[in-house]
């Protein structure tokens, strides 16, 4: 078996992984850093983020404001010490990216421009037209070329973590192109594998977002945190799930039901104003907007389409000029994928799964409870997102905690001795498993696509925008059944070369683990908070549930849940208010 040695291993080449790689190289250029990614890094899903990245730079805006917006947006489930670190370091990280060449949009005086964003009290969202994630990722990727100590394993798929003597020693990975399976060892490993939107049927997430890192950590005994909090984005295009960025609303788009009525006013989200007002109506937080949609469906005030009920986003009033200069990508997406021109027509939208607040349990340096293992980015839960992430907080999160984890992992690696011999035999076992379970097996009865679509149905029906004991229990049972049936999967493809079906199978097994973690955590939390809304327990219950949910994988495949305290520093829990009741400055968005 081939084996390669590095000091720090980054699993994932998205925003978090690349930022961490640079941090490792800058901490100590003599350390060998390796980025392992199942797609070429610049194809990672960070590329599709549109709206922007939040960081305080304008006079009048304060770190405390940003912290407060984040914490109240997260329904007080955020760790406030983490949030304070985050808001302080976010502007520095965004500036660093500027120094690396990121083409941030500018004001006429040459300064970086900022825009308003949902749930943010002041304008603090940096953007690069409406392709922020794309520019951020390509800038980071091209910048990594500079660092000679960064090696890349492009199109390598990590199938398992190597753990020995109580610490992580590397991973087993499969090179897609050749089918080679080998151990890549390292003294520290950082998981940066992104989210898990593909567990649900209807999502803005790319096909690669299958929660691999969460499952890898979970299987290695590391707890996942707050997995019940899954964010819906209120405005996705039906069928494709393509996201229409929040910016469309902060520029002044209206959400209307089938009667042309701005229905958000019926759901405690403020009163309609002609110009957008921060934290009011269409600029309320995502969870509340998505929940309002479900209520509209129940009232029969939505429009039916072949892809289910929709409401409409009205941009027509903004006019051609604003749309073309401020929202060109939105127009391009509508034209190219739905054949709709937002200058003249209404855009059909519905809530779609967008972001995973939960993830691998880490501290403020990205360290997990398992020695040598770190996590950063969407895969991790620090937690700064609490029960609901604010739009444009995720990109800076990748940068801030990617950099912190990279630095911490580098420093730790310098103290560590080389990997133990035993990991080689572990890697051989894994190779054998892959061959026996998939590559050489014939005659199984199940198709991956069938299991996938049944999982999708179970997740959407059981753990959607609104959940309850019965729906969740049904989903849990179904997932258990699917995990049984997964053993009967057999592949059409037994080739070693670029076997995408094998990949789909591995991802499917990861998704079943992640799906179960979501459902089990949701069963445990018998209250409603942020993105987790239980119809059987509609109120927030701070006495019993102002706490994180940690879920562990037992060796027999069952799970156990344990609460962990939330860190409160300066902002005691209060009610989340949006719209005119909130003491918001009535500044128009622009």
């Amino acid at each position: 078996m081939d084996i390669s040695y590095h000091d720090v291993l980054l699993v994932g080449g998205g925003g978090a992984g690349l930022r961490a790689a640079i941090a490792v190289a800058e901490t100590n250029p003599n350390l060998s850093a390796a980025v392992v990614s199942k797609v070429y890094p610049m194809r990672s899903h960070t590329v599709s983020a549109e709206g922007g990245a939040a960081g305080v730079i304008r006079p009048g805006d304060t770190l405390d404001d940003h912290a407060y917006d984040t914490i109240s947006g997260g329904d007080w489930l955020c760790d406030q010490d983490a949030v304070e670190i985050f808001v302080k370091e976010a502007p520095e990280e965004l500036l660093r990216l500027e120094h690396w060449g990121c083409p941030w949009s500018r004001d006429s005086d040459g300064r970086v421009a900022v825009r308003a964003f949902g749930g943010m009290k002041n304008m603090r969202t940096w953007f690069a037209a409406d392709k922020t994630g794309f520019h951020l990722l390509h800038t980071l990727f091209q910048t990594t070329f500079k660092y000679k100590s960064v090696t890349r394993y492009d199109e390598w798929f990590v199938t398992r973590l190597l753990v020995d003597e109580g610490r992580v020693q590397g991973v087993v990975a499969l090179q897609l192109m050749s089918g080679r399976i080998q151990a890549i060892t390292a003294k520290s490993v950082i998981l940066c594998t992104g989210g898990c939107g593909r567990v649900f049927p209807f999502t803005t997430n790319a096909s690669i977002k299958t929660g691999d890192g969460m499952a890898l950590a979970f299987q290695a005994g590391v707890p996942l945190k707050d997995m019940e909090f899954v964010q819906y984005h209120p405005t996705g295009l039906p069928f494709t799930g393509i996201l229409i960025t929040e910016a469309a609303r902060s520029e002044g788009g209206y959400l209307i039901n089938k009667d042309g009525y701005r229905y958000l006013q019926d759901y405690n989200l403020g009163t309609p104003t002609p110009q957008p007002v921060l934290r009011n109506m269409e600029l309320g937080p995502r969870d509340r907007l998505s929940q309002a949609f479900v209520k509209e469906v129940e009232k029969g005030r939505t429009t039916d389409t072949p892809y289910g009920p929709v409401v409409h986003l009205d941009l027509r009033r903004l006019g051609e000029k604003v749309i073309n200069t401020r929202l060109p990508f939105v127009r391009e997406l509508c034209l190219k994928y739905e054949n709709i021109d937002p200058i003249k027509e209404l855009i059909p939208v519905r809530p779609v799964i967008h972001y995973m607040m939960g993830g691998v349990h880490t501290d403020n340096d990205g360290a997990t409870p398992l020695a040598g293992l770190y996590a950063a980015g969407e895969v991790a839960c620090v937690s700064i997102n609490g029960a609901n992430r604010l739009g444009s907080n995720s990109l800076p999160e990748l940068l801030v905690f990617g950099a912190r984890a990279g630095k911490a992992a580098a420093l730790a690696a310098m103290e560590q001795k080389p990997p133990s011999e035993r990991v080689v035999s572990q890697a051989l076992d894994e190779k054998l498993r892959l061959e026996q379970q998939f590559l050489r097996k014939t005659g199984g009865r199940e198709r991956i696509a069938t299991i996938r679509s049944e999982m999708h149905k179970a997740m959407e029906n059981g753990a959607g925008i609104y959940r309850n004991q019965t729906s969740l229990q049904k989903a849990a049972d179904k997932l258990r059944e699917l995990r049984e049936r997964f053993r009967e999967v057999s592949l059409d493809d037994h080739s070693l070369t670029f076997n995408t079906e094998l990949l789909a199978a591995l991802e499917q097994s990861f998704m079943l683990d992640v799906g179960s973690a979501i459902v089990e955590s949701a069963l445990h939390r018998v209250e409603s908070r942020g993105a987790h809304q239980r119809t059987d327990f509609p109120a927030r219950d701070d006495r019993n549930f102002l706490a994180h949910t940690l879920i562990f994988n037992n060796s027999d495949g069952s799970t156990r849940v344990k609460p962990a305290p939330v860190v409160i520093t300066r902002w005691p829990p209060a009610e989340r208010v949006y719209g005119v009741q909130s003491e918001v400055k009535q500044t128009a968005a622009r």
Binding site: Q175, M177, S178, R180, T497
Partner: protein, 141 residues
């Protein structure tokens, strides 16, 4: 820096790539490709034009007798044909270049990019003007 001078590099370990052969007639598949090949071929004619020019200078330096002989040679129908083809290619190059000009020179005026049409137009206008002046000289002499 010669990093790119090596042939294309690919990853080891793979059993076998498939490399499609480029057909001998690939350049007939699309008009832009045909134009590309024509431009490549045109180098022969451009070279020919240089030869003619050199011959002309040589004839000039050897006196009026030699020049008259050179002029007679030029009237040979074969040479005329060759020169006509050459003229065609030179014009073809000029047109190509004029059309490329706006892409090569992103000229800005008051912060906005000058529309392609104007740059192309200016080139043609300059060409016409120079041709007129030349024609005027020829007619006059």
């Amino acid at each position: 820096m010669t990093e790119t001078r090596q042939p294309a590099r690919y990853t080891e370990y793979h059993p076998r790539w498939y490399r499609s052969r480029v057909s001998t007639w690939w350049w007939l598949a699309q008009w832009p490709y045909l134009k590309f090949i024509l431009r490549e071929i045109s180098s022969v004619f451009v070279a020919w034009f240089v030869v003619v020019l050199l011959l002309q200078i040589r004839a000039l330096s050897r006196g009026s007798e030699a020049y008259a002989a050179f002029e007679r040679w030029l009237q040979n129908p074969l040479i005329v044909l060759l020169n006509m083809i050459t003229l065609f290619f030179v014009v073809f190059h000029a047109v190509t270049w004029f059309n490329v000009a706006p892409r090569a020179m992103a000229i800005r005026f008051r912060g906005k990019r000058v529309p392609d049409f104007w740059i192309v137009g200016a080139n043609y206008a300059a060409w016409a003007a120079v041709s007129l002046v030349l024609a005027w000289f020829l007619v006059r002499s």
